[in-house]
Amino acid sequence: MKPKTGLWAAAGLAMMAMLAVAPASAQAPKRGGTLVYMIPADAPPSFDGHRETTFATVHATAPFYSVLIRVPPDNPASTTEFVCDLCVEMPKPTDGGKTYTFKIRTDVKFHDGSKLTAKDVGDSWNRIVFPPAGTTSARVSYYEMVEKIEVPDDETVVFRLKYGTTAFLPALADPFTYIYKKEILDKDPHWYEKNIMGSGPFKFASYDVGQSIKGVRNPDYYHKGQPYLDGFEAIFADKQSVRVEAVRGDRAAMEFRGLPPSARDQLVKEAGSAVVVQDSDWNCGNIVTFNHKRKPFDDVRVRRALQLAVDQWHGAPALSKIANVRTVGGIVFPGSPLAATKAELEQMAGYWPDIEKARAEARRLLKEAGQENLKFELTNRNVDQPYKFVGTWLIGEWKKIGVNVEQKVVPTGPWFQAMRGGTFDVVVDANCQSVVNPVLDTGKFLPKKVYPESYGDYDDPKSVELYEKMTHETDPKLQRAAMRAYEIHTLDTMAHGIVTPYWYRIIVARSYVKGWKISPSHYLNQDLANIWLDK
């Protein structure tokens, strides 16, 4: 009888659990309350999304603004789906994929009460893509495919491209592309650097420099019923312990960037059911870049040996316990349809499933190159998560083939300077993007003369040719094949760099925060319109 009783008890518990979960997932959003969250930064340099690149700007100001299109707020994990924010419906491209015509909503008002029209949308986009003299747009290079932007009437914006490309829509969904009021920009193109006035779900209430920023509900918001919150307060706190204790002590409900596994475990242990965890692969990663201008890294055998020595498949799960990294991937974010499968990865150097075989080959290559006693310096950024963890792990892996590496950890400024000036042997670089846009995101592996932030300083016409072919291909199957060819050439044939396991985003929030879903980037889904508080 005993086993049967246990079975019934288990079934009963399962049923209770289902009943408990079912109503929760079907819960109707509640109105009211103020969301308090932390921004793990000191303060944004300015409020101008067009100019800035830091998440501190997006986390502080995205709730005040509208964008043309975006990742779906209810399914931000999707890497291929985009939905309208200010447009009426997602357009079908015409003219062989070279023309996108957006119809703009007519019910949108700026927070000052004036009507938002296609002229505002067109003007903001023109400033992002073709910044006038004296102004800065940080993302001009994302829109090299755009030939011109036209506003034929108050309800229409037309993007004309030089060539059809799958990179365009993801680039258009960039979360920094706030729509500003044309009239204000015409008077002062720098106005938005220090002021806030948009058409988003929240109206600006106050800003205390370096301390906090507050917003209140926009009653005229065009997505009917939203936002659910009465307001929000974002508190700047760069120290992780403060943020963790703040969530534990309920001084803040969450932070949106990501905590390391140790902080998650601590919070879950201490706060129990008062917190919930969401996690996701992150469209960010560390890349090990070899300085091709320095010997012996100009020798592909040495680069390949260093790549073969790293046991990604066993290293990633071990590292994921202490650092915010997890998934092994190639040059494309693992969640994208253009990403290599495990079987495809295993064909390339650095991903061989038999690590002993790979290390034997690495030793052979080093011997052949006359570098059996190789020693070098690994330049790394003075950031714990995950840079220093990844750097230390790599050194251990290289030691297993007899390579001795000294890690030089430097602050952000000197780290950039070392990469840009080419004053390093090998560096732990980073590639951190917002919307998953494989075509643009993989530009990092191009030669420096094509892509200035490719710090390996190599010349490789073949990789440019393969990249161009992939970029201009719009058929998904053919593009995937072209991406594979580019990836194999970059990582396997030329061993230009090592892609270390992708970062892993862990968000711990108070359990009363509902409606928010994690995305593969800490830049995305930050307008807070769909968040509500169950308390």
Binding site: T54, R139, E233, E245, R248, R251, C284, P414, Q433
Partner: protein, 323 residues
Amino acid sequence: MYRYVVTRLLLAIPTLVGAAALVFILMRLIPGDVCVIRMGSGGAHVNEAAVEACRMKLGLHDPLPLQFGRFLWNYFTFDFGTSMWSGNPVVVEIGKRLPVSLQIAVMATLIAILLAIPLGTISALKENTWLDHIVRVLAIAGIATPSFWLGIMSLVLVLDVTYYTTGKAWMPPIDYVSFWSDPLRNLSIVALPAITVGYRYSAVTMRLTRSAMLEVLREDYIRTARAKGLIEKIIINRHALKNALLPVVTLIGIEFAFLIGGLVVTEQVFNLNGIGRLFVQAVQNQDNVLTQALVMLVVAIFVITNLVVDVLYAWLDPRIRYS
């Protein structure tokens, strides 16, 4: 005295210029610049044209002597510049943070004085008794414990105690409000940092008070006072303590000046938006203008505090005369 003060203030000018030159050179020895950090620290694509435009705007391409000359001239005309990071006037950036640091510094100093001088004196008077041993252990523990660690531990303690007693973890607010707008909330925010900083500060002061008192108590004039039949209270307060306080006042002055810009980790642990935190941000962001201004502020505070301490000397010891 007036002439002395003016002379000291004038002598501060070369000190300030020296400090300015030093910080100017040191900041420019750090590789990289604010524009690159600003445009690329997120790990995303760096727009080279934007970086160059930023450098041009901030005058980073100008020859160094020209930049230094401009910096000095601006200071002489009380133009402290604009933050290279935020674009806000440096006066605004510092003005927002100074009250926080000043409040912590004043409160920590008060805590230190109230703890250190009585306990240090008692410890000296009761030398080698159990009371002396307790005070010395307290003092050594205070010196050996970093205030940031004490800060974290005190926060964890508050969270744990409230969790186990009330079932809900509580911690002080983390968004600073000024004393004048909400005194109770302000005090609940600054109490813990002031106590943790004040404790370390009092430990150092306590040991100095004790040793200075012990030295003075062995002086001939104390013996003479006792031989004259003066009551012990007057001997201690009027003759011993007043003389023993000379080095203590110097220490308090130096520590106070240090607290204005030196509470880097404590401010981070308690999320206080003060000068120390701003200092770290400015250096990390390679915001030369703001870093220079902060160094000059701290130097000026040191100069003024030293002057105040020197003037206090004359009050404490009538033999000291300034002319």
